[in-house]
Symmetry: none
Subunit: 192 residues, 4 copies
DNA sequence: CATGAATGAGCTTTCATTCAT
DNA sequence: TATGAATGAAAGCTCATTCAT
């Protein structure tokens, strides 16, 4: 057990180092040697835990994505009121995007560059099904516009990525009030 | 003049090749040698037109960004009706994001990775001033919510990036009707 | 004893694995890790039985060489007739070269590349002394040409290496009749 | 032209360095860095002339093989007397094997290890056709045994590889008289 | 005796950039 | 202006070997 623990720790350290470097320098300037140094292991050690650089990135993507979806549905149980249910989920996402900036930023890079395998990307997609279900229920109840879930996502969740981006660049930081305004904008855009 | 023309052509070919390769392979797999080959020049020739790789990327970013802002304010003149004015601009942006996918995709990469200099990014920011002015006028007239322009942008313009992304990946393509729905969502999110 | 047995088994498994890999991939693509995997032991275990990779190769060479000489003088006892004695030995060699192809192939590699220590090579040389004695007797009796044993070897034994090589590459396989022809060629080349 | 000449010189230097190192250290200890150093170029330069290490080895093999066949049929024109014709060719081969030891040794390594592609090996095979034709003529005239050309080769040409090997290791050096004896052995083995 | 994990050294190869022409 | 050839530096990765258990 002591051994396994140590192993898991090293793996985690490597994933953290990668996240860090890719975020700050970009994928193109995150060489294995730097990753190893930052994780305080030998470069060769990386290849005990990961097949190659691509695999390291892919696995990191999947872990972060899964971390994200855990976040999203924290304390979520379907309530009667669609808006309340939605607000709960939306606030969770906002919490993640605005407070787990490192993770959020990494996901943005992955989604906007060809740096992870299409397979891994596909595997990481299926995380928001409960939200889609919620939207559908809202549509059946006549509370939410009858438009594609892609549009619903684009206008409620995706804007948070921009706000996350701005916060990370210290260009614009959302206040408590701003957060409420943001939610209202999201809700207004899709409510019937 | 013939010579100048030819020069400009080579420069353009290099920028195109770079755009192409960065979009398809990512910045990390767009080496100068491939760029040169695709533009049908010698690698050494690149350094006649650009100081180094970073400069090439920066200049490309600025050109594409400026191309974008030309697009945005095509046929734009301030009208009485805020919504109409806004719709004109919004549709221009949508047109760009959904039809100039290569360019749009490249800008997304630039905005989500540390691949261009902060200086160039700053220089590319000031392109949407007229839109900001429009919003301000709308706010003064009581037509638009009194919220930060960052929020206005996040909920009206930024969602189009997501839709562009989806189109490029052939995951979801917006119909004519969908486009109208998208605009309504955008407008609903910010109108008072 | 049971333990000893097991140990010997592991050693044998390692030698077999090495033979196999060196034959199929070449010395340059027979890493310790692959050898270990093929022998179903840990890489570290190799170093219990062998000092290092060179030692492993050297020991393998000596074992195979000794296996060879056991083969060569199977059923051999000096008879009156030189030709008969020689034929017995020659057929043994042919048997080895054409049926123990793996072993034969490995020895060929060793003899044609600088992959084993000169010491081990020298140690492996002294195996054919009885054959040399036989030749000498033949020469004294006026049955065999008075030429260097190196020449005798080159024209009677060495050609079998070529035929072994061809068989292994499935380029040319000797028939029963061909084997007799081969012996006659060998004998003709050295008989007086 | 001056440029081309220089190019060819570098290519040649690289091939020579490779021959040298592979002969002395073996394929497994002939790293690109050493090859580059010996040829007095940068490691990166190798990749201007060769696709990769395998390609370098393959090309070297083909060049040496072709050099060999040029040697073999030097001053060769079909004469009436089969033995004389054969002797001419045989002596050429002996000359090559015993005096171009580096080249000869390299070919031996290639033929006894899996270090070159099967394709290249096949391409290098067709060099001895005129010799095969000669043997056939000899067989038709009733001068040479009616046995497979593989056997003819094994007993006349292949022994020279052994003698070359011995000479290179300074174990046994053929005298002028020895050479004649060797030829007689070769001829005796195949003549009717 | 046996091992999985770890590693420093070194491998092949690529890259951004320069230089002679 | 334009280039093919050249390269030092560094990339991703592998390997023989060691060590804590």
């Amino acid at each position: 057990m002591a051994i396994r623990q140590k192993c898991i720790k090293k793996r985690k350290a490597l994933l953290n180092a990668t996240l860090n470097l890719v975020n700050n320098n970009g994928f193109h300037d995150a060489p294995m040697s730097k990753i190893a140094k930052m994780a305080e292991v030998s470069p060769a050690t990386i290849y005990i835990y990961f097949e190659n650089k691509q695999d390291l990135i892919n696995q990191l993507y999947l872990e972060v994505k899964s971390e994200f979806s855990t976040y999203v549905f924290k304390n979520y149980n379907e309530k009667d009121c669609i808006k309340d249910s939605f607000k709960q989920v939306w606030m969770n996402i906002a919490d993640f995007k605005l407070n787990q900036i490192e993770a959020s930023n990494f996901l943005s890079q992955c989604d906007n560059t060809p740096m992870i395998d299409e397979d891994s990307r596909q595997a990481g997609l299926k995380n928001l099904q409960p939200l889609i279900n919620l939207w559908e229920r809202g549509q059946q109840k006549g509370v939410i516009k009858l438009i594609s879930p892609y549009l619903l996502y684009a206008y409620t969740v995706y804007p948070l990525s921009f706000l996350s981006n701005m916060k990370q660049k210290q260009t614009f930081v959302l206040s408590e009030k701003g957060l409420e305004e943001a939610f209202e904008a999201a809700w207004d855009s899709i409510k019937l």
